[in-house]
């Protein structure tokens, strides 16, 4: 991978608190379990390596005490790493002089804290301007900039208040504004929304995503809330007892948990919001080409036991769908063109539609719900059973589950086909 695309890189990071830290790292490296290090020695982070790409929201998730805060505090040097390296924008921040570290913090990386950590004796505006003040920006300029950012986070009119006069959600907006105003590439957020109540929290999450889309910051976001992780994360690292046990896209983590721990962890997640149409769709069993005649279409539907089929062009772009009964009529009348019975209300959805948004279309669609890629090509279908199976937390079952077709009885179809060609059918199939 090109190094320009990496905003932040951690390699072999260890943090051991207490006595004999260096020996503990060697022992851990040799495979000594974490709980056998002896009392007074806590390995908070063990051998953590990952890259965070520019513009990515990288979520670190894990239970309380799994080492998330320790990890994020090593990324800006608030904790010295016991071993391993951290690079920000290609520059090492581990083992450098304090002065250089301060310069990097000013220019490259800022932080939003769980409990806001605002300066209680300063106004909202002065808090937002704090990072700029330390960067040495002149007063007028930094206040203008702080005012702008304060407005962006929706706090216009509150500039002269003290933090204690604000609600929790507003205080965290100040925290966010302070980090944004500093205008660094990388933003660290340690359980930044955990102290907020659920409604405000969702609002802040949306706002963060909006800002992210606009400003394209690189964000390392810590949370112990899986739904939050799934909602925000481009990629998620799951931590357990100091180790990163899995790194992957939200869907990966959900559908292919690396171990029992991750699997248990993801049990409670609201799958319908995370999984997308793409992750549960199956191959379309039968599609009819626009150019194919009614006979070919009807034969296909009979063979596949389908009550209808999607109609596509040569490059699989969707045209619409046909019902077996309509095609049956065409064949009986000896019509040679499908076009008259193609319906355009196929109701197909895009690949990245969340499961939660598939229910209504799925109920409305006569056929298994079609899934289209960005170029309107039919890439899959989702039968209702598949959708239900996916909700049960078993993507495997979802993929295997068979649809329940309600096609025309085979012998009826056979009779018509026979009559149309005047030859005997290969053999009558049993009707369902």
């Amino acid at each position: 991978m090109n190094d320009d695309t990496i905003a932040l890189r951690a390699e072999g990071l260890y943090k051991v608190f207490g006595r004999h830290a260096d020996e503990a790292v060697i022992a851990l490296h040799r495979g000594t379990p974490r709980d056998r290090l002896g009392s007074g020695t806590t390995a908070a982070v063990i051998d953590a390596s990952f890259d965070v790409r520019r513009g990515e929201i990288f979520v670190v998730m894990g239970l309380s005490g799994s080492g998330k805060s320790t990890l994020i505090r090593m990324l800006n040097g608030l904790h010295n790493a016991t071993a391993g390296t951290v690079e920000i924008g290609g520059e090492h921040i581990t083992g450098i002089p304090a002065k250089r570290l301060r310069e990097i913090r000013r220019a490259r990386i800022s932080m939003v804290f769980q409990h806001f950590a605002l300066l209680p004796h300063r106004t909202v505006l002065d808090n937002v301007a704090y990072g700029l003040e330390i960067q040495g920006v002149a007063k007028a300029e930094r206040e203008a900039k702080a005012r702008k950012v304060t407005r962006i986070v929706g706090l216009a009119g509150w500039e002269e208040r003290l933090p204690s006069q604000l609600s929790g959600g507003m205080q965290q907006r100040v925290g966010l504004a302070r980090a944004l105003a500093a205008d660094t590439d990388v933003l660290l957020m340690d359980e930044a929304f955990s102290a907020l109540d659920p409604l405000i929290r969702r609002e802040m999450q949306d706002q963060l995503l909006e800002l992210q889309a606009e400003l394209g910051k690189t964000i390392v976001f810590i949370t112990h809330d899986l739904n939050e992780a799934m909602y925000l994360g481009d990629r998620i690292a799951v931590m357990r007892d100091g180790r990163i046990v899995q790194i992957g896209a939200p869907e990966d983590i959900l559908t292919n948990p690396a171990d029992d721990y991750v699997e248990q962890f993801v049990q409670d997640v609201d799958r319908t919001k995370v999984l997308t149409a793409e992750s549960v769709m199956r191959k379309p069993r039968a599609v009819v080409h626009v150019g194919a005649g009614p006979r070919a279409a009807l034969t296909l539907m009979r063979d596949e036991q389908l009550a209808g089929a999607y109609v596509v062009t040569k490059d699989r772009s969707i045209v619409g769908w046909v019902r077996d009964r309509d095609v049956f009529e065409l064949v009986r009348r000896g019509d040679k063109d499908l076009a008259s019975v193609i319906r355009s209300d196929h109701g197909a959805v895009a690949t990245d539609t969340a499961l939660a948004e598939l229910f209504i279309p799925s109920l409305e669609a006569a056929l298994p719900l079609g899934v289209l890629d960005t170029r309107d090509r039919l890439v899959g279908v989702i039968p209702r059973v598949t959708l239900l199976a996916a909700l049960g937390g078993e993507p495997e079952a979802a993929v295997q589950a068979a649809p329940r077709p309600d096609p025309l009885p085979t012998e009826v179809v056979d009779r018509v086909l026979e009559a149309a060609v005047g030859t005997g059918a290969a053999g009558a199939k049993e009707a369902l």
């Binding site: 913090r105 932080m111 806001f116 950590a117 704090y130 216009a156 500039e159 002269e160």
Partner: protein, 302 residues
């Protein structure tokens, strides 16, 4: 029992050694302290009493409001009434100088201790020792070093009163929310800047509580220091003790009480988070004036 630990004689010889070998330092300290005291005493004793009362009452008004101002004026008038004014002003000067010196040394020491656990570990037992040692005991080396007068009183008072300055400064700084300090670090502030802009302002209530205690301890000590010839109210208390003069003793004693209350309320006012009474009121008035138009139109504050 034959075994006896001769701690006393060790300390005695140590003190003797200091007296013999560090004469220049003791002389220097004695001179500095005495001249500081003389200067402050001159300021409070030269003007007519009524002028001093007016000034102090005005300060009291600024600090806490008119009730305190009235109380201050009445209390000081009482001191004039029992003919202890000059003594009270001498004592006030001694307290201010001794407490001031204790703070000048104690607060930085407290800051240092807050930033370095080793310093803290050294300073803590030392402060325990200084504060719990019976106050009279300090008078003995004080006389050995400085003879009779203001300097030995100052020496004993500083030693006795310094502990809360160190301790409450350290406590206050250590008590500052760790995340807020980390916020300073995370944005790249230097340690000095974090101290000035975050730690000291947030530790201020605790530090001011320390200032208050230092002044109170100084006041209790300067009375004892009357025994080494420092004069002031302490001098009269000592005199009444040897002459069994109940009337004089209580008049001087009550004057000490009044001074104590006034000093306590003054420093208490500084210790409160909201700051000085009048200043706060002015500030909130200004804030409400500034914010009401700002709500209608976006306006850069003056």
């Amino acid at each position: 029992m034959d075994v006896r630990i001769p701690v006393g004689s060790w300390i005695e010889s140590g003190i003797d050694w200091i007296g013999d070998n560090l004469t220049w330092l003791l002389d220097l300290l004695g001179t500095v302290w005495t001249s500081l005291y003389d200067a402050v005493e001159w300021v409070v004793i030269t003007p007519p009493a009524i002028a001093v009362i007016v000034v102090l009452a005005a300060l009291a008004l600024v600090a806490r409001g008119w009730k305190f101002a009235l109380g201050t004026a009445l209390g000081l008038a009482f001191i004039i009434g029992v003919d202890q004014w000059d003594n009270a002003m001498s004592t006030l000067a001694l307290v201010l100088v001794a407490a001031g010196l204790a703070l000048v040394v104690g607060i930085p020491l407290g800051i240092w201790a807050a930033r370095d656990t080793r310093v803290s570990a050294t300073v803590k037992p030392l402060m325990d020792f200084l504060q719990t040692m019976p106050a009279f005991v300090y008078l003995i080396p004080a006389i050995a070093f400085f003879g009779i007068g203001v300097a030995p009183a100052m020496f004993a008072t500083i030693l006795f009163a310094i502990a809360p300055a160190v301790r409450l400064t350290e406590l206050g700084i250590r008590g500052v929310d760790r995340e807020v300090v980390e916020a300073g670090q995370a944005f790249g502030a230097t340690p000095g800047r974090i101290l000035r802009q975050i730690q000291l302002p947030l530790a201020l209530p605790s530090i001011m509580a320390g200032v208050n205690q230092v002044i109170m301890l100084s006041l209790s000590m300067v009375v004892i220091a009357g025994m080494v010839g420092a004069g002031g109210l302490g001098g009269d208390v000592t005199k009444s003790l040897s002459a069994l003069d109940t009337a004089l003793g209580f008049e001087a004693g009550l004057s000490v009480v009044i001074l104590a209350i006034i000093l306590d309320r003054f420093t208490g006012a500084f210790g409160q988070k909201r700051g000085l009474h009048l200043v706060t009121r002015l500030r909130s008035a200004a804030a409400s004036r500034a914010s009401s138009p700002a709500a209608e139109t976006e306006k850069v504050p003056a």
